[in-house]
């Protein structure tokens, strides 16, 4: 048993003018610590490519997760994929990353650009063996994983970026490796790193991608727990219980909400010092209590975090805001999206009578809904969430 976990994120852009993407990433968990990731790139573009890659990725990920052999997967695909009327072939390239117990990876590649491994920020060549299955040359590798390994798999939209425009022969693999090494920052999430690469491709394409372009990144990292408390308990008698449970948890601690932080400061017998700097005019300033990593206002701050979380799962455009700013919402976003792998929410159900005013957008129901929305978003980011109500 190790303390490693994998953070998986991907980003796609569509060929210019297409509404559907012909690349598909499928992630299937296999028990607690094993995962199968498949990136498939369907032939052509638009609807046809989308169907081919969806079928391919879904079939392979499901079969692999059920421990079937790669030979079976390939022959199943070859015999089930619809045949293209124009080209008389059924075709979708794929890369499979099978992460076993978060310490080993089996990599199977067919015709996509070869996988790139960055270990501690430096490119490492992965040894591979090739064999032919059903007339297709398939490369296999098996490697040990360690903390701060980043695996990048991509569709050929990346290496073709800029062909005939800014670059004669596209953006070739050595250039992509150089780019990834140059951008290296171990604190990047898989999603952020893959977005960086795809954005660069989009840039090389001059904003008009000539092909669907996808990058999927797997980051191996240590598990890290973050605890977030919001709201006082509905029964005053539970204050000590809630506080004791919260502070006994390992990892960082975030306290949200005015009353909640006042209670915390009383419980810890440490003064709360509120800041007066409005780093973001929308977000109330943060405060400090010794023994707590971050103290913020409640509903307004969290609703901004929810906005950031939703965007993170979509286009990740607001990264340029929360990625560096120092207001309460950005700080929470960085702690939850980037640092944390396991998040414990301690939610108090007390109703603040002053907030039950129809003119204020901060009623009790809104608070509960925000917590639910946020935990759903974080689950979609692959994090383990526990919510306890008091």
């Amino acid at each position: 048993m190790n303390n490693l976990c994998s953070d998986i994120g991907y980003t796609s852009i569509n060929k210019w003018g297409e509404q559907l993407c012909g690349d598909r990433v499928e992630i299937v968990e296999q028990g607690e610590n094993s995962t199968v990731v498949v990136l498939a790139d369907g032939m052509g573009s638009g609807v046809k490519a989308n169907i081919l890659s969806s079928l391919t990725s879904k079939i392979i990920s499901t079969m692999m997760a059920a421990n079937m052999s790669i030979e079976d997967c390939v022959s199943t695909i070859a015999s089930t994929l619809p045949v293209c009327a124009v080209r008389q072939v059924a075709y979708s390239t794929f890369t499979i990353i099978h992460i076993i117990e978060n310490e080993e990876a089996e990599i199977i590649q067919y015709d996509n650009p070869l996988l790139i491994l960055l270990r501690d920020g430096k490119f490492v060549e992965i040894p591979k063996t090739g064999n032919e299955i059903e007339g297709k040359m398939i490369y296999r590798s098996r490697i040990k994983l360690q903390e701060n390994d980043f695996l990048f798999t991509m569709s050929d939209g990346t290496i073709h970026a800029g062909v005939g425009m800014d670059l004669n022969f596209g953006w070739q693999r050595p250039e992509i490796i150089k780019f990834l090494e140059m951008m290296y920052d171990p604190s990047y999430t898989a999603k952020t790193y893959s977005t960086l690469l795809v954005e660069e491709c989009n840039h090389l394409y001059g904003g008009h991608p000539g092909d669907d372009t996808t990058c999927c990144c797997v980051k191996i990292r240590n598990r890290q727990q973050v605890n977030l408390m919001i709201g006082p308990p509905s029964d005053r008698k539970d204050v000590n219980k809630m506080q004791a449970l919260f502070h006994s948890k390992e990892g960082k601690h975030i306290v949200c909400g005015g009353t909640t932080s006042t209670i915390t400061s009383e419980y810890l017998k440490k003064p709360m010092i509120a800041d007066l700097d409005y780093l973001d005019p929308e977000i109330p300033p943060i405060a400090k209590i010794e023994g707590v990593d971050l103290v913020t206002e409640g509903v307004i701050t969290i609703s901004k975090v929810v906005d950031y979380a939703k965007d993170f799962l979509q286009d990740n455009e607001s990264y340029s805001e929360w990625g560096y700013k120092r207001d309460g919402a950005s700080l929470i976003a960085r702690m939850l999206f980037e640092e944390a792998t396991d998040i414990n929410f301690f939610v108090g159900r007390a109703v603040n009578p002053a907030h039950q005013n129809p003119n204020l957008p901060i009623s009790f129901n809104i608070k509960m809904r925000l917590v639910e929305e946020l935990s759903e978003c974080l689950k979609s980011m692959g994090k383990r969430i526990k919510v306890s109500y008091f």
Binding site: G257, G258, N352
Partner: protein, 80 residues
């Protein structure tokens, strides 16, 4: 003299940022930085009457419109 402004959710929505900015400006303009200390606090438990401001433990209820008045009457008059 210590002046504390509530920056909790409810007071935030009622304009505590504008009040903080006005007070910061007024204190500076009157060169009272040595005499008046501005600070923030989270909820004072009196949200209904927000925005809550305390001046040496005496509670006042302000809005952005009444801040200048408050400063003239309560702060400026007392320190001079």
């Amino acid at each position: 003299m210590k002046c504390t402004i509530c920056i909790g959710s409810s007071c935030h929505l009622k304009g505590s940022r504008q009040i903080v900015e006005q007070l910061q400006y007024l204190v500076k303009e009157n060169h009272l930085e040595d005499k008046v200390e501005l600070g923030g606090t989270f909820c004072m438990g009196n949200c209904v009457n927000g925005v809550n401001v305390t001046l040496d433990d005496k509670l006042y209820s302000l809005s952005p419109e009444t801040t200048k008045d408050f400063f003239d009457k309560e702060i400026l008059a007392k320190v001079q």
